[in-house]
Subunit: 312 residues, 4 copies
């Protein structure tokens, strides 16, 4: 752990949040913090406690909690009782946090629970954070909403309530597909960044992380592509002519206001993003640089077995 | 108004909530309480003020607020600014309520606003109620959620947070279809009533109202059918063997617990509901009684014009 | 009619399809071509027959059929019987078409019917067209699908089956919102145009029409915006480096192939579209030109009454 | 194989369809029959060919094909080219079928492919079947549709087109959750059975199979529960007073027609189903009998390892 911590300091990196894993053991089949069995809940709380210790040692200042808890069938468990168990356990977890540590509470509509997820939407997660205290905030994963839900509005609401903790960026067409950020709906990504810029959230420390899963595409390249897409969405959000936008909005000029926003999105920011990367000493075209480096091939050949590696 | 109020007293009826109408006037095109124009917001607040006066005069103790406010295009207005306007206006409205009056705040995913509804989900409405005070509660319309959302869980959460104000009962397959209660998903209706019974909500004064719209079917008959369906869902919810359910849940016996719940739903409660109606001096078969009464035909023939009447 | 027809010829316009209206009369409450009452079906067929006559007189070569037919409640009518009535009626309609006339069959998931729409999806419409003959084709309205459905794939399938008749362009976030084309998901619009270009559909006469409804925004300006958005989507689709795309696809290079497509979308085509408009003798900036013309204000003041006009 | 085949004959069972597995090998990462690499397509066709041989040997008369084929990113592959590859490969497969063998073609909205599934809906599967010939039919899995889609209508349409091959029964609230049949929406299950009875589909050999996946509940008990739920849905569908229904439908009496259908659903058929089971020599209460048998415990203890077994 100390090596990891030192290495991060050397690289000037801020260590990310620690994510306790409370879903892969069979004992968590009926839930972790919401499990009807008190001994399972005890073990889950203790596991998070260990994660808090790890976080303290490696210098991470956040615990990011996604619970797989929920039920698959109506009647399987009492929704109200599960909620009470959840709050009781989280009070204990929250009390064990270091003074400067933040608890990020993630929500998800469904999966792995199929009938009722214990933290299914932002309102449910926000209520929990309010109960716990000031250092509990909501984490938004772009793939965890019902179809048709307006995510940028949720971002705005959470920021307004002082509870926007961070993001798991990815994209999806249907479920929680964990595709490359902005690969399905780049305009939505831009609108989210517009809200983030508007709220000063990028500067104020909202945690922006990527949470993807790559099955058919080269994994590292996909991750680089996500970073590029995030840079472009951010650059476009910075380009919005805020004075013109505010003026059109105040006049109730619906179409003029919409055009001001869309103008920024329609702008090709790839050249300016490449310039910024170069100015920062990075590659103007990181995908080409990565492909030229031969890293993926080397990594694949060094691992004797593993189809996953072969897909790099 | 006084006639109305007296007549209600005579009939032993509790007068329902008053619903201000803030969407049909062209001035509300860009919103009522969230409108960018302060003079429109002013007029909307005043209109609600008049409704509060009416409520006081007729003896109603609640204002039920559904806002059509929202935006149709990204950038049309500032989501954060609209939220602030909404809260400012509602603070004023809340201050004008009579001491024993309740403010019900309804939410709806979309329509008439198509891009971002200002009160789009229960979390959004709950936050408003928390800001206002103890007499502001959330109203749940069964048709106002994204597809796949677990409504009985929302009911349980709102009750747990002490903010379950009432219901607009109806059913739908896709959007906000306002069909007969329980006509598309009777099992969901039963699960909602199970939560209501479990929470003691029916007795404690949660306002249970029907909000339907009938286009192709006989209106009064449809309303009677809805009442019958509500009675049956309630009766089934009362039938659940709570001790057996709690025992199976405590043991983590998923299927046994599910079966206890489903057993109540599978029971044919039509005879017992008919018996209860008879005991209360009502008709055992209200649909047959209504059809036999010839009321629909009389009402239709008495109205010289109006296709709506002809569809009774 | 003759005046209309002559004027269209003068302007070099191809007259659009004629759209029979079979939903606003109360007699169509239970359906038009699928109505259980044969006399209503008869009237509906006759009304379409009159539309065919009008089409012939004004020089239109297509009937575009959107049916509001469907049921609101399970059991209301036999799904199979309604289907047979639909096919019988459409055989008659098809037989009455002029030799060079095309029948466009539109589908829609829901609304106004809430339980079961008689033509609810593309498969349902395609089956009808196959039964009728070569001049019956499917019309795709971008707002008429369930959430999450891949529309560009439907376009590709219909073209592959030789049955892609045309489009009603618009956009939506949730239901059938009829917003400005490309205003919610411009990347989807681009992908649809990529399929159209790939299939040679623009040149081969697929009917590209706009079907929007503007409630809060200036109507004519909204329509101009839609045309601009269509031009940009088309321009971007033309920009795709097809050779590079085919090569990456053949190699199974998922990310390189995706990048080729996205590169075209990321390009700012507004300047080149403005140039093309100018070359065609139109305005480089049609929105500015329209606003400068004062047309909207003039039209509004000339109409004595009508809030709709006031919103131009 | 011969042992299996003989044992099935002894038990009087009709052997189910054979399901080729074309998704777990890494070579199928970019698809099986639609893969851009012809050698992968060749291997997939050959694998299905082997399955056809197995089917012939064990006496199964159907191949049931669910393809995991699709793409995760726009541009990844040509939708049209993939379609052509699919049809070419299936022509070959179809040609290799025994004379009395049926090909069942399944569709699924999404997963594992996230952007575009090659057979995403019933229309897409039906077109394939039409191309292949009379012995290719569509298989409906209840969990494979977009939210809000009317499945019983698809059943009716497929039957009307002579292409209803069979079912994978299960239930879901959101995605493809593979829960116990009828556990989330028992009224929908009943409506599907109403269509099946109406179409004479149960008698005519439509293949009714269960396709579930049990994670938190006892597996065998869950399967027994599914069979009970199917029996009850079937029994209720048989109870519908078809003459009364037809009369109300013919009169356009929406609510009376709906009531006839709902009356059957509201009936408690558990006693009559238990009676029928007893008359057939089976247990009146198969769940109780299974629990009493101790089979689950024995099977679990006999397997030295395996948490899955422990969850029986």
């Amino acid at each position: 752990f100390d090596v990891l911590s030192d290495r991060a300091r050397e690289l000037g990196l801020r260590l990310g949040a620690i994510n306790p894993n409370l879903f892969q053991e069979p004992e968590y089949k009926l839930g972790s913090l919401c499990n009807p069995d008190p001994s399972v809940r005890r073990r889950a709380v203790e596991h998070i406690g260990e994660c808090i210790d790890v976080a303290a040692r490696v210098g991470s200042d956040a615990i990011s909690l996604w619970l797989a808890d929920g039920t698959n069938y109506p009647g399987q468990d009492s929704l109200a009782a599960r909620r009470r168990r959840l709050l009781d356990a989280l009070h204990e977890v929250y009390g064990a946090l270091g003074e400067n540590m933040e608890l990020l509470v993630e929500y998800k509509l469904y999966e792995p629970a199929f009938y009722a997820t214990d933290l299914a939407d932002w309102g449910s997660a926000l209520l929990v954070c309010q109960e716990l205290g000031d250092r509990a905030n909501v984490l938004v994963d772009l793939g965890h909403h019902a179809q048709g839900v307006n995510i940028e509005q949720i971002v705005s609401l959470l920021h307004g309530a002082g509870r926007l903790g961070g993001f798991h960026f990815n994209d999806r067409k249907y479920g929680d597909d964990d595709l490359i950020v902005g690969s399905i709906d780049p305009f939505q990504l831009f609108r989210i960044f517009y809200e983030l810029v508007d709220a000063g959230a990028v500067e104020s420390g909202v945690r922006l992380t990527i949470d993807q899963s790559h099955n058919v595409e080269a994994k590292i390249e996909a991750m680089i592509q996500s970073v590029l897409n995030l840079q472009e969405a951010y650059a476009k959000a910075l380009l919005v002519d805020r004075a013109a936008l505010a003026a059109a909005q105040a006049e109730g000029d619906v179409l003029a206001a919409n055009r001001v926003l869309v103008d920024a999105f329609s702008t090709d920011v790839r050249p300016v993003c490449a310039k910024v990367r170069e100015d920062l000493g990075a590659s103007a075209d990181p995908i080409a640089a990565f492909r030229a480096s031969g890293y993926a091939e080397r990594a694949a050949s060094e691992r004797a077995h593993g189809t996953a590696a072969a897909w790099l």
